[in-house]
Point group: C4
């Protein structure tokens, strides 16, 4: 068994475990921000959060160890290192949940447009939820803050990713603004995906309807092949 | 006559009746929010609203009864149940009006892009009107509200679905914010449809103009068929 | 000469004259709003504005008179009637300037994407200029108005059609809001055109680059025709 | 060696030198706005800025001198003249950095969509950085200004090019508003590029997946050519 195989095997075995750990991390993070437990509960939560982090660190070093060319793997996975090291990027660990979405989509067996819709919707929901949590955590205690409860944070997250931006609520801290920028980038991509899916659907439907300018299909070319084959057969019979 | 047929027949017979009931509901809802009648008129309006609701309930259970596989139909029509049960989703009953739009479009006999334009325009008008009504109803009495008359509500609805979002007027209640989110989703879809229609038109026009890279049309393939047929005929004549 | 011919001839002859009158109207309107002349100058301006209006009325009735089926022409040109009758729609007379743009474009001899760019840019400039004028006229005297000079009006117009909508400046009168809605619709169409043009360009470039999946061109089909023709000639020679 | 050749040679030789000078200009401009040096350092910075400007002036006149038809070159390069003469357009000199991006892209060897992504990302980063610098410089000293430090300026730049436009921070000076308008135009183009890239990707993937309606490929036409060639060979053998 080659090293390449071992890395692929690890990735395959670990993806469900890491998705489960990402869910635990999401639950712990939600409780930490929304419930703000004190005393023993807080200690317990810190331990759970630390353990989920430890799992991601172990996974990172395991993959680094199993890689054929460790130097190359390290340079191509700098973002994985950043997700493990930087507290601000912790929510990106939830990208591990993509395995759930792709499992769901395999079960339904969708076409490409259906898949784009599923990723867009689940991406939007997760982005709004996690963005609202992170924003609430970093803005709650700031002077002159507008985001002091989860309802306001969700409302802010939605007006931001739709680029409506009323301006009734906006972040005032640097961390809050960095989160806002990440959400705007996410929002533009989501809006772009929606527009693109509609455009793709219209263009496809127009081209199907437009009989007169129909592009030639493989079936029509098969028809030509058949006619030429018959012609050859005829030629062979007559000249024998 | 199979059960499947009976359900299809019910749907066909009921669609115009339900569109009419949806119009009555729209009228009653408009009067309730805009005129805010008191005393006898209010009672009358409550009765009309209740009757339109009763018709939708009857339609729901009739379709459930007529379905071949009731369990499956129930699971595939959970959204119909929600529209019947949840007061917040009442405006979705107006989706029944889609039959009017499709009748209009059949009369004109439009191509796909024309149809997208008709649905986009009528969808936008209905979304703005109903959204403004619902927002006015839920915001009017709230403390610190900005939306206290129908003119302001329409203005807010338009700045929201176009994603301009000046921020001079914005909802402050939870219900108002939920309605706003639904309108933003509607707005993004509408803007996406407009962009997509323009894109489809440009791409189509470019491909028609671009003679040199023209995709092969069925007519050209027919030309090839003809030539091969003549060749065969010639071969048959000469070798006979 | 048929009636149809006479209407087409009128349209052809009148288009440059009407474009000139539209320019005069634009100049008069600009002076009215920006200079706000009093006394004799004001009377002169009113006369010029009235004369440009009279020309559009004459053009409307001339076209109605020359139409083959006047009833049908009337129903298909209700918008022309509205532009002539409603003061709010006066700026739409500037649509007559489209003949200038199409003359410019004929001189340059552009492809479809170039044409979309020219219409988008000239449409955006005219929309911003006229929208700012109209908004300034209707908001200037209103209580609590934010738009009191032309610079602010242009700034507002640009933040509106780009859907940025800071909310530092927004209309407060009903007329001002109606103008704002028309500008948002124009803005969404402009943004849509830009996105669509870029999309069309990318899709075209991708399909040209993507040699392996190249759609069959007419030239390739011509190659097949040639080969079949040679085959027929060969067959004819040999069997003679 | 013709004049045309000499101009092309100059362009080729000068592009890396000008990119380097553009980087020096960017560094000097950043220090000027962010550090605001006084005394000797300020004089030194003024000299560096003047020298970078002089290089661009020399490049402009060298290209004008080397052009075959100087009148035509002058008319086709009015924008180059404006960039050299108008202080407001100084940041456009950074467009010379495009040679760095295209060198990077050649090294990676990307397809068209990859190239659009690289230009979009590097364009967005440069637009935000330079826009924030220019805005800070023109707004800092204005009465009632909201943009008084670089952090706020970057935050404003991002909310503007994403068209979110909260309205917590907006320019109040005329120069600041002109810069804002340029950034909105840039923002719309960037958002359009993102949407268009996604649309192109979806449309491409759909057409590849959609086996039944596959457009005919050159390979299939080659198959037809082969069959006809075999047919001819057969005909030749038999009738000899």
């Amino acid at each position: 068994m080659t090293t390449q195989d071992r890395l692929a095997k690890w990735d395959h075995r670990a993806e469900w475990a890491l998705a489960a750990v990402a869910l635990v991390f999401l639950a712990a993070y939600s409780i930490e921000v929304l419930v703000q437990p004190r005393g023993f509960a807080q200690h317990l939560l810190d331990i759970v959060t630390f353990l989920t982090w430890a799992v991601f660190v172990v996974d990172y070093f395991a993959r680094l160890y199993l890689a054929t060319d460790r130097r190359k793997w390290f340079l191509h996975h700098l973002i994985d290192l950043a997700v493990v090291l930087l507290p601000l990027l912790r929510p990106l660990r939830l990208l591990r949940l993509v395995v759930l979405v792709s499992a769901l989509q395999e079960a339904i067996g969708n076409a490409i447009r259906g898949r784009v819709v599923i990723y867009t919707v689940s991406g939007a929901v997760l982005l709004i939820y996690v963005g609202a949590l992170a924003e609430l955590e970093s803005e709650r205690a700031a002077a002159g803050s507008h985001i002091t409860n989860f309802g306001d944070a969700v409302w802010w997250a939605i007006t931001t990713i739709t680029t409506v931006g009323y301006g009734d609520i906006y972040p005032v801290t640097t961390t809050g603004r960095v989160i806002a920028v990440l959400m705007m980038i996410g929002g533009i991509s989501l809006v772009g995906s929606i527009t693109a899916t509609i455009a793709s659907w219209i263009i496809h439907t127009v081209s199907v309807e437009d009989k007169a300018h129909n592009a030639v299909t493989a079936a029509q070319i098969d028809g030509l092949h058949n006619e030429i084959a018959q012609l050859r057969e005829l030629l062979q019979q007559r000249t024998d």
